[in-house]
């Protein structure tokens, strides 16, 4: 993902700018675009990848015609990966055994938060009656959220 964006950064200044009509209305978006190009050109920035993709749809992809398809695809792929909402992840893990849920608490803080939420525990309890999870997680939640 990141590699692709770096190559985009090199193409952007040459290809996109001449195609933009210099109207007043566009002035602010050009300004914004330049800002994003700066981000693009600076690979050291940790968030460069994410900023670019979300900004791409309106600001950078639009003026480019020949590169549009691959970029659109990249954006789409990014969107899929990013868009599996927590709600669905929760629905999937509702069906997992307690031991598996406990193992995947180590995935990220966000998962820790979601998989130890009271809501999740009670739904899990109702789908697979297993008091162990409730006991473990409620204790853990207090432990982690106090910090």
């Amino acid at each position: 993902m990141k590699k692709k964006q770096n190559t985009k950064a090199k193409e952007n200044p040459n290809l996109s700018q001449p195609q933009i009509p210099q109207t007043k209305k566009n002035a602010s978006s050009i300004h914004k675009m330049k800002r994003f190009e700066k981000i693009l050109e600076n690979p050291d920035q940790e968030n460069a990848g994410t900023v670019v993709v979300s900004a791409n749809c309106s600001l950078i992809v639009a003026p480019l015609k020949n590169k549009q398809k691959t970029k659109a695809k990249a954006i789409q792929e990014y969107a899929i990966a990013e868009s599996l909402p927590q709600e669905l992840i929760t629905k999937i893990f509702q069906r997992s055994a307690t031991k598996i849920i406990l193992r995947f608490l180590a995935v990220s803080k966000k998962w820790m938060y979601e998989l130890t939420s009271a809501n999740f525990i009670y739904t899990h309890l109702s789908t697979s009656p297993n008091a162990i999870l409730t006991r473990y997680l409620l204790r853990d939640r207090n432990y982690y959220l106090q910090k």
Binding site: L88, I92, A106, V107
Partner: protein, 167 residues
Amino acid sequence: MASSSSSSKTGLKKMLTLKSSDGDEFELEESIVIQCQTIKHMVEDGFSLIPLQNVDTKTLTKIIEYMKKHAEKTESNKEEIKNFNKEFVKGSFDDQFELVSAANYLHINGLMDLLCQSIADRINNKSVRAVREIFNISNDYTPDEEEKVRDEHKWAHEGGEFDESLD
């Protein structure tokens, strides 16, 4: 025999058109599409062309395949449906995630259950690292914090080798 009885009914059957986000249209009988709660409500409101902005052609084709198969569900072909379901969930994780998003959006409960269960089964034995990759989650624990979390549930991390593969 079957064909004559179905053709005599076609005059009565109401047809609906589903339009994917790519603009492709699919014409289906109402009785098939009615499995999907979202569309059912639209039909009740009198729509017959149903645009599905969140579902692309590839996903919609799969979902229609599922709905068609499950519309012919009877007591006698339970085994057949079971095999169909088994084949249906064999795709890559990305495909499954797209399907599950679409099924959730369309409120097809049977498909939702099928997909969530199959994804849950497939990740059961995956390592934590593999799950991060599959779900595209960045690890925001510091190494120390992660060690602590793993330590807290040591028994959940024991029990043989975990699968590092991503499919």
